[in-house]
Symmetry: C2
Subunit: 458 residues, 2 copies
């Protein structure tokens, strides 16, 4: 079992390294999952990292390498002898190798490719040619392929012979003239008689993706159908690779993070927070801060153009933040719901009228709840009922009517803007809260001053 | 391949039903994945749903049932004969059966349990006893267990005999006196000689979770270690079930949605947007709208207490939205980053000082960028340089100094509040953008009026 957390493991390894107790360290490493070792080695100096790596059981070394961060992989590759580097490149899967090549600096890449055999190099290069977010860039060509005419016994012999190098052996792909014609699981092969033909037990109504499909779509197929691997075909339906569920898991998590960052007005980051430097973090945040600050010019202008009205009834100023924030919140609720729904495939463009109709009704009910509460709040909590210089009841009426309209307008904009973005091929998440807030702020102020003018005659 | 999308498939099925072309419908259903059929059947009337269900190939029927939504499952169960119901309950896995029981109304549950054999009923009841978000509620007891002394040949015989009913056969669990002592993959069994003892090829340094572990933690273990299934043990390290990766995928997606909803001031919903009624959607949004509206009382009070200062320099009012929004954005960037980092395990509580130190530096650099840009914007875009009644340069100075401080304060609050929430056992996501916005609004206004008082002497 996992007895240590990564922090404890780090300290334990550091202690054994200091004591130069190589024997105990080796014994410890044999007991711990290589993924945990990778995490625990962070922060050690390069000499100690390499020493520890060399003490790992042979089968764990490649696992640790794949689990490590790019920075850490770079340290390892730079410290490796050619023999060690070749061993790792032989061991890791091609999709991981392609990812490695993409992450490393040029001089390290040169050394890696020098220590990779010609055939592997060719396969890696082929993978690198696919667009960054495509199924092609996610897949590995290391799958087990069978023929329809094979028997189960022959298929098992093939898996035994070739399976070691394949990313998964549990789903095998049946091809004819390189075209994908079926899938067969090891499970159904295990329960079949050994003479059964593969064509008899394979599934033909199979789910496949094309190399150019977006990786988010690929991940959603895993979610939908519950498979462990999905085949990738080219335009002629020829099988070129498979995507395994562990890659889909990573895509889903990355995409969710990306959406969350965009909704919070951050340019998406690739690295975890603790590993991003101050200036990298700054660079991801400053564009939106500046853009939104400057776009607030509209709200300033609206307020300034009502300057004289405000001066004659200065108490109205105090409710500006409440009205703007409520609009922002109401709009954000709608936009974020639609954006997430679009990401998950729960919401589709063709639903636009049903969505608008629903949001309008939700907004009206929300408005009808918020408005009277606000009316009472303005009268009793903000003590407008006791105001002597103005008619407090009218002020409360202005605020609550404005809130009612603001909520309806905000929800309408919140739900339509992401759909519009999707329609014209923009990213719906970028249209989310902060951007909508700016629009909603301006509209809320216009509504406020419009309602105030007509009720208070200012 | 998947030739239709669910919308086209729906229309095709409807058309064939209208034509009463049962033969063509049956042929169509045999070619399509049951998950797609489940989606396509939505919106048909109950009679047609049952008719279509009965035309499905036998092996697809249970798959369709599991993929269907609860409302749809209810329609099916109500229309099923006892024989059909028993067939489904025999076919589906225990974790899916437990989920079904939880979702159905009491009278339907009674009928389901009546058509379930005593042993299955006992297992379902055991699963239902685990807390809702625990590993226990997620797991299924249907795993393949082996003994260390078995040979590979004996193990395969066991898989062939028992495997049909198990959720996965690809990872087998090795037990001794019900205690989990190792895991062995079918892959390693396939490449081993048939006389090899399981104890020789099993892994002993295994990753397991406890029944009481949170399901989010369980999902993160899949993400971290890349396994297809993870064993669940009780306090005495006895194996009681397994969680498979498809369940982890669902948990990850649900948790991301939940976090996003909380950040957008929505009480998390269980159902997809298009299937939630107007009042259900309203109920999830109104609590936060009301709470945040009322908490804006603070900002009103702050503005009102500076009423005379504002009256003497009414132009200051125009910049209130810009200052508040920039504070909200800056704080939201920090809080959302930390909340997501906590969810993914990239950020830990012990990092608190490193986080604060980093955010302070990021905030200072952001502030130093935003402040001069704002200074110029106020002078030239808002045309304060040409103001005749007041000193526009001083106003621009007030605004830009306020922004500088607001950004630092907002980022500080944004990063510490989620960590504080986590520390005291609250949900960090609830502390996110909207809540922080209210606090940041109030502080930004105090800063604004403070800076204005000292520079403009009002």
């Amino acid at each position: 079992m996992n007895e240590f957390d990564s922090h404890e493991l780090h300290e334990k390894i550091e202690e054994l390294l200091e004591q130069k107790n190589i024997k105990a360290l080796k014994a410890l490493l044999a007991e711990v999952n290589p993924v945990d070792v990778a995490e625990a080695l962070e922060g050690l100096d390069e000499k100690d990292i390499l020493l520890t790596y060399r003490l790992l059981p042979k089968e764990s070394a490649a696992d640790l390498f794949v689990a490590a961060d790019p920075e850490f992989q770079e340290v390892l590759v730079k410290g490796f002898s050619d023999v060690e580097l070749r061993a790792v490149m032989d061991e890791i899967y091609l999709d991981d190798a392609a990812d490695l090549i993409e992450e490393m600096p040029a001089n390290v890449v040169a050394r890696i490719l020098k220590n990779t055999d010609a055939e592997t190099r060719k396969s890696i290069n082929a993978l690198l040619l696919y667009p960054e977010d495509s199924a092609g860039s996610l897949m590995t060509p290391e799958y087990v392929s069978l023929y329809p005419s094979m028997t189960v016994e022959e298929a098992f012999a093939r898996i035994r012979r070739d399976g070691v190098d394949k990313e998964t052996v549990y789903t095998c792909y049946v091809t004819e003239n390189r075209k994908l014609v079926g899938v067969v699981s090891v499970r159904s092969m295990l329960v079949a008689a050994s003479g059964t033909k593969i064509s008899e037990i394979m599934h033909q109504n199979l789910i496949a993706v094309e190399t150019t499909d977006d990786k988010e779509f690929v991940a959603s197929q895993f979610q939908k159908y519950g498979y462990l691997a999905i085949p990738v075909v080219d335009r002629e339906q020829r099988l070129v690779g498979i995507v395994t569920i562990d890659d889909a898991l990573e895509v889903m998590e990355d995409e969710a993070t990306e959406d969350i960052e965009k909704m919070a007005a951050i340019v998406p980051t690739e690295k975890p927070y603790m590993k991003t430097g101050v200036f990298a973090t700054y660079a991801k945040r400053i564009p939106w801060l500046l853009l939104l600050m400057i776009s607030a010019t509209f709200t300033s202008q609206i307020i300034n153009s009502f300057e004289s009205a405000l001066a004659s009834c200065i108490v109205l100023t105090g409710f500006i933040p409440m009205i703007m924030d409520t609009g922002g919140n109401a709009g954000g609720q709608a936009s974020v719901t639609i954006i997430r729904g679009l990401s998950l495939g729960d919401v589709e463009l063709r639903d636009v009228w049903r969505i608008i109709w629903k949001e309008v009704r939700v907004a009206i009910v929300c408005g009808l709840t918020v408005a009277p509460v606000a009316f009472l709040k303005v009268l009793f909590i903000d003590r407008m009922l006791w105001a002597t210089d103005i008619n407090g009841i009218l002020v409360a009426l202005v605020v609550s009517i404005t809130l009612m309209f603001t909520i309806v307008v905000s929800k309408l904009i919140g739900c339509t803007l992401p759909l519009l973005a999707k329609k014209i091929g923009f990213d719906p998440a970028v249209m989310a809260s902060p951007f909508i807030t700016t629009i909603v702020d301006a509209l809320a102020l216009l509504l406020y001053f419009g309602v105030a003018s007509s009720i208070l005659h200012i």
